[in-house]
């Protein structure tokens, strides 16, 4: 009886050499599939001693007054218009805000995102609105138990429906990769002008209604199919150490 060309011992040895690499590839695929959850949590754990102090957190809370004033004005106008006509089944008072430290920040480049030091354990879920002093910064993209990843409004491809309260016109805020997102109006006849406040739509169900977002800087009336505008965000992500996440 002739012996096999690949004896069992050789096969076993090659398998023994190979399986740690297969296990490594499988583990890394799991990291990819979980969107780097283990790395985010490990990074949060390692960087915890270096997290920003509470001074800016208090400043953020006090600066909320400005935001509340703007919101109050918008809500008043909104209330006059909609009173008795619309039931959105949504009470912003019921919403809860969670303060979270910014533990990693990528505000330039292909991925414009923040990593926050609070996650699903604090009640944060994907899609929650994230606010800095004065206004909306972005939305939660993914969460781990201890961290959340926020996609900024400035990120390329980010799209959020917004509302110009003074002219009562809807638009789409599109991230361009720069610090000035583009506001694409849906109407051809645009009455907005530089200086107008852009907020989330009063009828928004994805984001908290009437949240200040940006101020119009310049309008391009010649754009097709509808005019567009460049806006300056109210809350700048470059210098924020603490944010608030509005949970649903």
């Amino acid at each position: 009886m002739g012996s096999s060309q690949w004896p069992m011992g050789t096969r076993l040895r090659s398998w023994r050499r190979l399986w740690p690499w297969l296990a490594l590839i499988a583990a890394l695929a799991a990291v990819r599939w979980s969107k780097g959850a283990a790395f985010s949590d490990a990074y949060a754990l390692l960087s915890r001693p270096f997290w920003p102090g509470s001074a800016q957190r208090e400043w953020l809370q006090s600066s909320g007054n400005l935001e509340l004033q703007a919101r109050l004005q918008l809500l008043q106008q909104d209330n006059d218009r909609l009173r008795g006509l619309l039931d959105l089944d949504r009470n912003s008072e019921k919403d809860k805000r969670v303060s979270a430290a910014v533990i990693s920040r990528r505000t330039e480049g292909w991925w414009q995102q923040l990593e926050l030091g609070q996650g699903s354990a604090a009640g944060i879920a994907p899609g929650d609105a994230v606010m800095g002093p004065g206004g909306l910064l972005g939305r939660v993209q993914s969460v781990t138990p201890a961290t959340s990843r926020v996609r900024l409004l400035t990120a390329p491809g980010s799209q959020v429906g917004v509302w110009v309260a003074r002219t009562q016109q809807h638009g789409l805020l599109v991230g361009l990769g720069t610090s000035h997102p583009q506001l694409r109006f849906l109407d051809k006849d645009v009455k907005a002008r530089p200086g107008d406040l852009v907020s989330t739509s009063p009828a928004s169900t994805l984001l908290p209604p009437n949240l200040p977002v940006a101020v119009i800087q310049s309008i391009n009336g010649r754009a097709v199919p509808a005019p567009d505008a460049l806006v300056q965000l109210v809350a700048s992500p470059e210098a924020i150490d603490w944010v608030q996440v509005q949970t649903r």
Binding site: W21, L28, A29, F39, W110, R149
Partner: protein, 168 residues
């Protein structure tokens, strides 16, 4: 002495790449653009450990970094290509040590990475999107520049250490 991929401490050094990507030290950026840490780690690794190890290491790094990014763009194919190419360069001819060579290889690698992102971004956002999105080119050029400037310092230091641990 064992090859690089057989030395746990050398393999573990790859963990610095995702951690540095997350930390993004502000004092190591150029106009807010951080260097490509994956290129800075992969270049000396591939030069020392060869094309197969370079490709596998690039695949591992690419999987992790794609997980940390979130907009559907991938750097895996370009990193694997670079790992293979740099591995072959390291196996042929005289060892690459000069600062200019390391800087140039890092610059080419980062530009290829940036161009692949730009191409993917154009496909994702529709081919009718403007061809010269200035933010994309700015990001590409600045990242290539800061990576090429850091490569002679960091990569030559890594080469020195790793060549001592795994002589050819």
């Amino acid at each position: 002495m064992a090859r690089l991929h057989q030395q746990p401490i050398c393999v573990a050094s790859a963990l610095l790449v995702p951690l540095l990507t997350l930390a993004t030290p502000g004092w190591l950026t150029l106009s807010g653009v951080a260097p490509s840490w994956s290129i800075l780690w992969l270049l000396p690794w591939s030069l020392v450990d060869g094309p197969v190890s370079g490709t596998i290491a690039a695949a591992c790094l690419g999987l992790v970094l794609d997980g940390l990014g979130g907009s559907g763009l991938t750097q895996l194919p370009v990193l694997m290509l670079l790992g293979w190419w740099w591995g072959r360069l390291g196996r042929r001819g005289r060892p690459i040590e000069r600062s200019l060579n390391l800087g140039l290889l890092a610059w080419i690698g980062t530009m290829l990475l940036g161009l692949s992102f730009w191409l993917q971004w154009r496909v994702l956002s529709g081919l009718d999107a403007p061809l010269f999105q200035h933010w994309a080119w700015r990001q590409c050029l600045l990242q290539a520049l800061i990576t090429a400037l850091l490569a002679p310092m960091l990569a030559s230091w890594q080469l020195l250490i790793w060549r001592r641990r795994a002589p050819a």
